[in-house]
Symmetry: C2
Subunit: 307 residues, 2 copies
């Protein structure tokens, strides 16, 4: 089953303690689609400016990514500039130039509208619903958001959440959204607003999945060299959704707890590769064997015997 | 096999967002010994002042804790006053009164000296070695420390580490000790100084175990109500050491990776109970069934299928 993703394609300028890169390819839809394309077909909806040349899109070539929904508009592509300290958990945003993203109005090509699996990356919650309105029969809808929308468009975000199955956000955002310091209480509150499942991303500490019936804790892969965390969250979501779309959406009974847990490990695998290099330099160079082997490493990392 | 523990017995005054308690029983040796006494016999070495009455020691009654090594000295018992914000991960120390702890010189009763399993809680590394010097044939030595000793007695601490099998410290301390932001690199550096195994405690994010051959990631138990984190680290160490001493020290081949992983889950279980109430109010009220059931909960929390 294919996945529809709507989000950003951007040029990022990133500084980490280990190096600096200017105007490199980034954006939520970029990371998500490359990550999920290892598992299934992806249909991308985003906007770029006139400065986005053929060379910039080379990372999409030869992958299972449909670019019919990538709009090209007069003006410049969305730009983000940020830096990380030795604590690589959080980026400091130094500059955001929305450019063509300012007036982005996602329009789905007709062949996209039958997609049953949808990922709404971090964009205005109004636009997230505008995308959903164009999808004929959504079966699995996942979304992300950020503190800006929590602070400035909370009512709209809650309307989106009523239509979402799987909500994937950062730990600080979960606490802020629920106005609750305890994460378990925050999760229960958020689940009461609509999503069947909440995944809380915790950076180098892994992730927690909450649903009505279960909690699952997944670690992050302990890496000796974390080079650039940009895009880790979207690579994670790409692994989660890619695996679910490829393996767990055809059965009528929906997604099992067991399938969700496996999906989260695949998400963690993809995020762990992504942070090993700037931009998509590592994420775009994987074999399925690399992915399967790291999945096994997660098993070794977390396994303990019953007593 | 019994465990020898040397550390503090203290009166704590603790303020959390959920309440306040004054001069309640605390101290590393207290938390450690109550926690590990669910698994095996414990021999405690610590010092208290004249203000430590029979009532204060009631928490030790009826447990497998030998108090022959609990010295009583003229003066007042060690006191600590601290508070936690909504982020319960780190205490702000408001006051430390060393009192009788200032001149603490741990002397082992003769029947303690055959203990093969030793936990050196967070005390001056000189004193940690003075204890080791009195133990005839140590088989498993574990120790903790804190930023104060890293900053002020680094050489002495390193001498202690040369004689330690299992080093259990907080994440920030691991980074500070190794002068290395990346935790995997920090762990490898610390392991090169002597310990065969390093356990890094990460509060609500669980723990990581590093050894030459393996890395193990354990979550913390997601609690809806974390009341007071004081003593969590020592309760954790008590679970780890208690389980190892009771189950994995009799075989000549030493402790297996599998046994260490199970021990860390028992440590996580004990820490999760401890934070549910002030002082030892929860930790002292457990049945072995409570402990076994929460161990099973950890299994459910972390389990995922192979693919």
């Amino acid at each position: 089953m294919s996945i529809l993703v709507v989000g950003s394609v951007a040029f990022d300028s990133v500084k980490t303690p280990f190096g600096e890169a200017k105007e490199i390819l980034g954006g939520s839809a970029t990371y998500f689609s490359v990550s999920s394309s290892y598992f299934t077909d992806v249909r991308l909806v985003a906007v770029v400016g006139e400065d986005f040349g053929d060379g910039h899109g080379r990372v999409f070539d030869g992958r299972r990514i449909d670019l019919a929904g990538l709009q090209r508009r007069p003006g410049k592509t969305f730009r983000w500039r940020g830096e990380y300290g030795f604590d690589l958990n959080e980026a400091r945003t130094l500059e955001t130039q929305l450019n063509v993203f300012q007036d982005f109005s996602p329009e789905l090509p007709d062949n996209y509208r039958d997609c049953e699996c949808v990922f709404l990356a971090n964009i205005d919650p109004d636009l997230q619903r505008r995308v959903l309105d164009q999808v004929r029969k959504p079966k699995l809808v996942a979304c992300d958001t950020m503190n800006y929308w929590i602070g400035n468009k909370l009512d709209s975000l809650k309307k989106t959440l009523e239509r979402v199955d799987l909500f994937i956000i950062n730990e600080a955002e979960a606490r802020e959204l629920a106005k609750e310091a305890n994460l378990v209480k925050a999760a229960n509150k958020i689940l009461s607003w609509g999503p069947k499942t909440l995944i809380v991303k915790r950076g180098e500490y892994g992730s927690l999945m909450f649903s009505d019936s279960t909690v699952f804790s997944a670690p992050a892969y302990p890496l000796e060299s974390v080079f650039d965390p940009t895009g880790a969250g979207d690579s994670f979501a790409g692994g989660v959704m890619g695996y679910l779309a490829a393996n767990h959406l055809s059965c009528s009974s929906g997604i099992s707890d067991s399938g969700l847990r496996q999906a989260i490990i695949f998400g963690s695998v993809m995020a762990s590769f992504n942070v090993e290099a700037f931009s998509l330099n590592r994420l775009s160079q994987l074999s399925y064997n690399d992915i399967a082997n790291r999945y096994k490493e997660f098993k070794k990392l977390t396994h303990f015997e019953d007593v």
